[in-house]
Symmetry: C2
């Protein structure tokens, strides 16, 4: 019991879902509220977030549809990946000053049972934000898709759609590190296309907003492709099926082209090629495949320490701009991982 009557009660600013979008989300679908936090209960910690993550899959959680992650609830705080610092603790397992990874994003401060927070390992020269992308779920997504789903082999020609996004930039580099003969990416602006070849080691890249995805992919992969990492769906998937060599394998990670569509998408019109070419399409959700995390982290931690794995971050400052950052990310404004620094 504090005897200082002037002490301010701790508060949190957190984003709530104000309305379910129809098609593209609007700023008015989100609401930032401030609320008082109670005292810590035994076993709890209070964490001040340093970075919070905004990701494409969150668009799906805005709809009231049963999926692999539960929908956000109207008028309740939204959640997502975040990294923060313990600022108060009533747990023996975490101390003030610890850096932790957790799922209470979309806010500046949270308090909850210490078991909900995972201390991050110390890797020399690696900033804490990477646990939200290249050394976290993002990196694991790229790794699992290529290694486990598409069963990448040395010599494969690999195509990655949405390649300048957080998952795509990691996937392109892992493909190269795993011995791909050729790595091709698509992205949505000339700047991103340039970045793929200049910074991330892609052999070829094209701007899908220029149209004729089939033609552009054929030009970039004259000998066809063996592996496709799909972040986009729709025409991209159709183009990949058309460019596949015999025995081609697609890891279906995302179909961002469809998330905001209010019309049922047209099917790839060439699915019958699955038969003649002996193709495999495998969809996956990384949260159900966490058993591969340790193998991934061991390999990726080494690549990162060796400087073999590069990344970009697009950082928006201030928890009050999280909704804006999310909308910008859906519109393709980010290069690499979109993050909000809470400050």
């Amino acid at each position: 019991m504090s005897t200082d009557a002037t002490e301010t009660a701790p508060t949190a600013r957190e984003w709530q879902l104000a309305a379910r979008p129809n098609g593209w989300p609007q700023p008015s679908d989100f609401r930032l509220v401030e609320r008082e936090l109670g005292d810590l209960s035994p076993g709890e910690v209070r964490v001040r977030n340093t970075y919070i993550s905004v990701d494409p899959y969150m668009r799906g959680r805005m709809d009231d549809v049963k999926s692999y992650t539960p929908p956000f609830q109207l008028d309740e705080a939204m959640t997502g990946g975040a990294v923060g610092e313990v600022v108060a603790s009533r747990s023996d397992n975490l101390s003030v000053g610890d850096t932790v990874l957790h799922f209470y994003g979309w806010r500046d401060t949270v308090q909850a049972d210490a078991a909900q927070f995972q201390k991050t390992p110390d890797i020399p020269g690696v900033p804490e934000s990477v646990f939200l992308h290249v050394l976290g779920m993002t990196g694991l997504t790229a790794y699992y898709g290529l290694v486990d789903m598409a069963e990448i082999k040395p010599g494969d020609a690999v195509f990655i759609s949405g390649a300048a996004g957080a998952v795509g930039t990691v996937a392109g580099q892992i493909a190269r590190l795993k011995g791909a003969s050729r790595v091709i990416g698509s992205a949505g602006s000339a700047e991103k296309v340039e970045l793929l070849t200049s910074k991330y080691g892609f052999d070829a890249a094209f701007n899908y907003k220029d149209g004729d995805i089939v033609g552009q992919l054929r030009a970039a992969a004259p000998d066809g492709i063996d592996v496709y990492f799909d972040n986009v769906g729709g025409e991209h998937l159709e183009a990949a099926i058309s460019a596949f060599n015999l025995g081609g394998r697609a890891a279906i990670c995302g179909m961002i082209s469809m998330y905001n569509s209010t019309e049922p998408p047209a099917a790839p019109r060439n699915l019958a090629q699955l038969i003649g070419k002996g193709l495999t399409l495998r969809g996956f959700v990384i949260s159900r495949n966490m058993e591969r995390f340790d193998a991934f982290a061991a390999e990726a931690g080494e690549w990162l320490s060796n400087g073999q794995l590069r990344y970009d971050e697009t950082v928006v400052e201030g928890v009050d701009r999280a909704a804006e950052a999310f909308l910008d990310m859906l519109g393709g404004a980010n290069v690499g991982k979109m993050l909000v620094r809470v400050g």
Copy 2:
């Protein structure tokens, strides 16, 4: 050199491709011709066919499109599976009276190098026609699709489209023999639906011509499906994706609904479910997977001898009716394997 001037020179009646169809093939796309066969060269045999096979994949060969089997050539004899009897031999490897399996269908008589013909094994109580279906490529297709592509496990609920066809009736029985918890089939008439449950041991079946495939499948598989054997594509594939449980696997064997379509197919519109449900779609062509034939034949030969594998044949009499039999088969007139008895 025969001294008998009245001896008739041996002839063959064979079907040629007269025109490439646009959409559904017409009788006028085929032409039956008679031609003289020359004398046998050393190493050759002459075979009189007893049964010839007409199959859905032959529709694809009528188009001038590169695929897993080369297109039929205009004004040349068509080919396909057949079983016949050696009637003349200049080879040490085959004798007059041998029953042989080969690929010179669509005709009554053929002569060629003995290496093109394979002697059939003697299995007690098994007629020669089964080498063209349940104990041949048809049976292997069903087996390979379920076992190797869909990786069927005991307890799986299995859905087979076009289930009353040659591959489908075998697939349903193999699914049961491999421990499926529930086997569901679709077919194109009330008679076929009845046959699936009464003769082939399907737990449930429905007539897809009644419409609402999604609804009919959900009613037949209230707990969802784990494996889908696709012979039809289009709306059937969409319904299967919708009914799949987590981790569902589809073996894509055929898309007969699309073969005669001149419009791009509209379905499946729900491919994004591949991601959330972690689904796998694998297309295959059996001719590239013949290494599994011996394992299949050992298991299936035993099932057949034990009476655990039943089959139907729809037999059309006379080589002159082969085109008619083929067109009827495309239209769904057959029950089980469609064959032409040369007589």
